[in-house]
Symmetry: C2
Subunit: 438 residues, 2 copies
Amino acid sequence: MTYGTVEPFFHQGGFVRVVQKFGGSSVADAESIKRVAKRIVDTKEQGNEVTVVVSAMGDTTDELLDLAQRVSPKPRSRELDMLLSAGERMSAALLAMAINDLGHTARSFTGSQAGVITTAKHGDARIIDITPGRIETALGDGDIVIVAGFQGVSQSTKDVTTLGRGASDTTAVALASALKADYCEIYSDVDGVFTADPRVVPGAQQIPEIAFEEMMELAANGAKILHLRCVEYARRENVPVHVRSSFSDKPGTWLKDASDIKKKESGMENPIITGVAQDKALAKVTVVDVPDRPGEAAQVLETVAGAGINIDTITQNQSVSDDTTAITFTVPQGDLTKALDALAAARESIGFSKTLSDDSVGKVSIVGVGMRTTPGVAATFFKALADADVNIQLISTSEIRISVVIAEGDVDKAVRAAHTAFGLDGSDAAVVYAGTGR
Amino acid sequence: MTYGTVEPFFHQGGFVRVVQKFGGSSVADAESIKRVAKRIVDTKEQGNEVTVVVSAMGDTTDELLDLAQRVSPKPRSRELDMLLSAGERMSAALLAMAINDLGHTARSFTGSQAGVITTAKHGDARIIDITPGRIETALGDGDIVIVAGFQGVSQSTKDVTTLGRGASDTTAVALASALKADYCEIYSDVDGVFTADPRVVPGAQQIPEIAFEEMMELAANGAKILHLRCVEYARRENVPVHVRSSFSDKPGTWLKDASDIKKKESGMENPIITGVAQDKALAKVTVVDVPDRPGEAAQVLETVAGAGINIDTITQNQSVSDDTTAITFTVPQGDLTKALDALAAARESIGFSKTLSDDSVGKVSIVGVGMRTTPGVAATFFKALADADVNIQLISTSEIRISVVIAEGDVDKAVRAAHTAFGLDGSDAAVVYAGTGR
């Protein structure tokens, strides 16, 4: 059988060098580990060089966090990293054992042994460099390499670091780049990237190929398939990424450079819009009567950001009556109170009159490189929303994205309306979307 | 309070450098870990430099072994070591967290980070060298060092190795030697070394000080307090070892070079015999009519040893009737069948007539350096056994030990008889002996 992992256009010689990443839900128990081992061996037996990045089993990381909490209310991050990194170490060793039983030789490596060099920021370290000497040696010996994801070693302190939740994807892409792999496969419990969340849009279709920049916009605007950092890394290093399910053999979604995407190949009409993303649980804050002087807006936003709050969609409107402005932005619902408190504390110094807030708004974004060359996309989008009786509160755009902030209760119907308006509805309903497995 | 860890005769300057080892039962859960952390901090606050070796929490190692079994019937040892070593890594990190909460800085290190260099024999690696550079740096910074026990890194392959079950004790003693520590404390759930197993002899007394060679004889003849390897290492490197309970503050038993043991100090009369050890669950095998030619005995023993069976007490008797001999030895009860099968297979080539066996014998050993200079010890021992109506089947001796093989059912009364005969009975009954915690 083929997983589409040997598509000819990737061949660069006698074999393909591939990096595969399996999430925690794919190795949740002994049986899952054996099944994944079989899949890895199949890829190897197709003549490929295989390096695998694995996450911790199922809920291991959360269980270790609970254990840490029972021992220490606020565990030191260096020690927390030492504790948590054990999870991937265990799953990597177990996966290697299962592969060895299938007649192949697998060698597991910790992040440190794999040469994953990071910054010293425990719990959220960044990959500085990868020196895959031991991996190259193992691959040279014809072995299958298993790397514990999510971890590395600090360049400065030589201590064990973790890269933050979900960073096993980034580890895989970074390794693929360092190993000059032909591509990277991210296995989870979803079939790939869809034109919309199938739980919301039954007619949502799987996207065969998507441009890195489109995936970045989707990830940044609510799509939970891949972490933004991973997509950014793949784009920067131009590593083709195949997002697919470890529970089926169906091809998934390929992330590629826009120039590598062959049109018409997918069987769908070339869509102007590639996908519709949604982000619920947002809150809207409007700061009224901000003196319209340079730097005032910056003060407002810095005040909120200073409270560690992630600010999204920002708009500023000149007041017609006097020379003040109103600044409006969105924040995660859970951060609304914190944001309002921070603003109240800075009210005197900034000199605005009051704040207005709405604790239940959402965002709907349409994304597609086709937008660049197609006029009237915004008009089509807004008309679809109007026909669906959805009132637009804020608008923000990028070169390949248009986002609207609307009432939280309108998000689902807005997504469906946009999906239909841009001809993305498929004939047969997509499989049920089961979360990201990360 | 004092744990006796700062006894003046150990002072070698302004502070004492100590290595403490805590077994799995001492760190079985979050509460135990916090309690151990408190004890470590107390030692530190007495002005000591503290390095701690910790085992995996409670049954973690067995649980990981079960998990491995579910994934692979015969896991490759390299991967099993990668898996199992995660257990100590977790307990070390958790212990460091708990210490940090008490206002001290603790740094946990894996065996590899701690510089524990071993052979490449996975599952049963031996320590070749310890390069404690990172530990020295941490101690120099005033930190408390926590080292994951039971593990190291292979000098040749750079892979993670484990030292075999119970080897955390050996790790601690080896570290104490490499760090030139003043002494090493082994904490478990027993109060120390007793003159006999208190479960058998209510009047057994704790031994304040015992010579390395005596402890080696006790460990080699059934005492489960410390692993023989650990005691051998301590003796070779002359590292004083303090065996004590992590559940009380009472001083335990000091293992020292015989020349460092101050007589009369203990309050007991200087005993000729330091302790009585017992070893049940043995089987006795007699090979009859072995041709009395050089090398025949060796053939018999090699045949059994070749089956991977550990042979104990060996005796050979010249037959009076003809020129054949009978060779008798003991093996663990569980290995009896295997031993008899191996012998049966080699019967022709060796040329003996038959084997006799007894599947329920035991061994009682009296140990004491006092033996060297005291005549009549054997006579006293044998008379005590005779008075107790215990029939001696085999006898073996060393310079400081006399062992007898007897019926398994006679072991307990033989131990009590010997204990009384050599004046070891204490006035007040010892605390109940609670296993070794390893």
